[in-house]
């Protein structure tokens, strides 16, 4: 997926990847990465959990404005052990 991001970014479009395996991103170096150590198949979290999903989406989209080239952002949110509120402005 990071390889696809690199190709899209090279075409002049800003990209951000959500990933669950950091070592692969460290090798492939996608332009911007949000790393969440969550199970496969759950990049935005748990089914039906809107506040969590919007929190991840908000973090990913806003990283487009401040992440450095190749940066891997690590919010450190633990799987099923965090409380989420809908991001300000997105209520």
């Amino acid at each position: 997926m990071g390889l696809i991001a690199r190709i899209i970014e090279s075409a002049g479009i800003s990209t951000v990847c959500i990933i669950s395996l950091k070592p692969i991103a460290e090798q492939v170096r996608p332009p911007r990465t949000l790393y969440l150590a969550w199970p496969f198949g759950h990049p935005l979290g748990e089914p039906g959990h809107r506040a969590q999903q919007l929190t991840v989406l908000h973090a990913a989209l806003h990283s487009l404005y401040f992440a450095e080239p190749g940066e891997i952002l690590e919010p450190g949110w633990r799987w099923r052990r965090e409380t989420y509120t809908v991001p300000p402005g997105w209520e």
Binding site: S10, I13, V28, P30, G41, P43, L44, G48
Partner: protein, 176 residues
């Protein structure tokens, strides 16, 4: 005969490890740290200069998502399928499904937003928080040579070109 046997064994192995990794993320991370991916020193970079409420966004996933009326991804070839599916902006979630045997997508089928947040993005556009949405694209992850070359030289550049034609400013990529 031998090839058939090899392909079947590989697919069984991928299916099994994919299911185990879906359940036990720590094991997946261990596998990830041993995985040899393509290695790059440089990073392509395009700064985003528009505010989000003026941006045209597209989603790209490698989770094997496709419309029910589109051909499913090829799960017969253990080296993967480098093709992609176009997902039009207004596709209702009920028309989408997932073909990808190498991870547990039970939860994603219950709520596709956890993998492919099309509905969330549609609602953010309606509320004026994101400028607009463009056609999204879906691939299947787990692509090995020789299909990897097809992905890198043909199908991914094609998608990049279509995104550019639709004047997309930003792309969110989500994995399986």
């Amino acid at each position: 005969m031998t090839d058939d046997w090899r392909n079947r064994s590989l697919k069984d192995l991928y299916r099994l490890t994919g299911q185990i990794f879906s359940q036990i993320p720590a094991l997946a991370r261990l596998w990830g740290s041993a995985y040899r991916a393509l290695n790059f020193d440089s990073v392509p970079f395009t700064p985003l200069r528009k505010p989000l409420n003026e941006c045209r966004l597209a989603l790209v996933t490698t989770g094997g998502v496709h419309r029910r009326d589109q051909p499913p991804f090829d799960m017969v070839d253990p080296r993967g399928d480098p093709t992609y599916r176009r997902i039009p902006v207004d596709t209702p979630l009920a028309e989408l499904t997932i073909t990808h045997d190498y991870y547990d997508h039970t939860d994603a089928e219950a709520d596709l937003n956890i993998l492919f947040p099309l509905e969330l993005a549609q609602s953010l556009v309606r509320r004026g928080l994101i400028g607009s949405l463009a056609t999204s694209y879906s691939f299947m992850g787990h692509i090995e040579p020789p299909h990897l070359e097809t992905l890198l030289r043909q199908t991914a550049p094609e998608v990049a070109m279509f995104l550019k034609q639709e004047q997309v400013d930003a792309v969110l990529l989500t994995p399986a």
